[in-house]
């Protein structure tokens, strides 16, 4: 959060600098928050992450836990009161003409979902 605030402050400083250099009103900056890190909303319910991790391990899938370098609907939903981590689909190269997905990984994901619903 601190680095996020620093980035916004830097943009404001650049804006102020250019207005000083070229005259007031030359540059106008509009900053608008888009979304926030869902971590703080998930941590009180961290068992749902642990559960997904354990389910993967039970199915022989190695969990890869990493931050999303962007936003996700789950983050917004988490702030709306529905804690909502994100699970793999198996797909790769999203948003590209080179997108592909292994059939075997789709099957694994389906098994994972069934596992999550039947062992709780």
């Amino acid at each position: 959060m601190e680095k996020f605030l620093q980035k916004k402050a830097l943009m404001e400083k650049i804006c102020a600098f250019l207005n000083e250099k070229y005259g007031p009103g030359t540059v106008e900056l509009t900053l608008k928050d888009s979304y926030f890190n869902m971590r703080e909303k998930i941590l009180p319910h961290i068992h749902i992450v642990e559960k997904a991790k354990a389910a993967m391990e039970a199915l022989g899938i190695a969990p890869r836990i990493s931050p999303i370098r962007g936003g996700t609907d789950g983050a917004r939903l988490s702030f709306m009161g529905l804690p909502c981590p994100n699970l793999f689909t198996g797909g790769q190269n999203f948003h590209s003409r080179f997108e592909y997905i292994p059939v075997e990984d789709m099957e694994k994901c389906t098994q994972l979902l069934i596992h999550l619903l039947t062992t709780c």
Binding site: F4, K7, L10, I14, C15, L18, Y22, G25, T26, V27, T30, L31, K32, N37, M38, R39, I48, V49, A52, M56, A62, P63, R64, S66, G70, G71, T72, D73, A75, R76, L77, M80, C84, N86, L87, F88, T89, G90, G91, Q92, F94, H95, S96, R97, F98, E99, Y100, I101, V103, E104, D105, M106, K108, C109, T110, L113, I114, L116, L117, C120
Partner: protein, 267 residues
Amino acid sequence: METVQDRFLRYVRFDTQSDENSDTCPSTPGQRTFGEALVDEMKAMGITDAHMDENGYIYGTVPGDPKLPTIGLIAHMDTSPDASGKDVQAKTVPYDGTDILLNEEKDIWLRSSDYPSLKENAGKHLIVTDGTTLLGADDKAGIAEIMTAAQSLMTTRMAHATLKIGFTPDEEIGRGADLFDVEKFAADYAYTVDGGPIGELEYENFNAASAKVDISGINIHPGAAKDKMVNSLLLAMEFQSLLPLHQRPESTEGYEGFFHLTDMEAP
């Protein structure tokens, strides 16, 4: 029971590309067409409360043991505006670790030299495109996986938790959660099924803000410009040049944030 693969291949034929320039919800009619087909399919499986709300969101319940927590599974129906999702020609190929010819006529290849993680999938069957459109695994794979799991729960004798299904429009243009009815959904917690490679599990994301920079220049004939002209295009470049070079998407990873220039236009 229909396999997850067949289901997915059926879904990618729907063109559900979202459009950020549209003010309607869903932003494009194809999402509604796809949603209607999903509701029909859910009803046919016995999910009696399956329905689409006025904004094109799909909800449905697979009832389970009321003593267990109620779990939601969520995926999105739209595909990215970044690439065409019309007339997707998906095919399944057994992958032996060599490069894949996607389109013979146009000589388009899926190469491990461009996408090194491809190699990890040797021995699997890959669903690929013809190299002219996206595939739509983001996020029709999530939908196919949820639907297949739901069908399996509908027919199993095993005890299971109540499943709440939610399919949203317009995730790719950042509106998927806007009109999601969390209260009506009534799940204790949920998972989006919208991630990438197998094993991915995510519960942290970036903090993000959009920045719009309006620059007012002063236009004048270049021959008489001395001490008068303020070239807004040059000023825009100056603004950008004051941002740290090493904080761009292409030079950051993991927890490192970035400034990302997405658009520049002259009035």
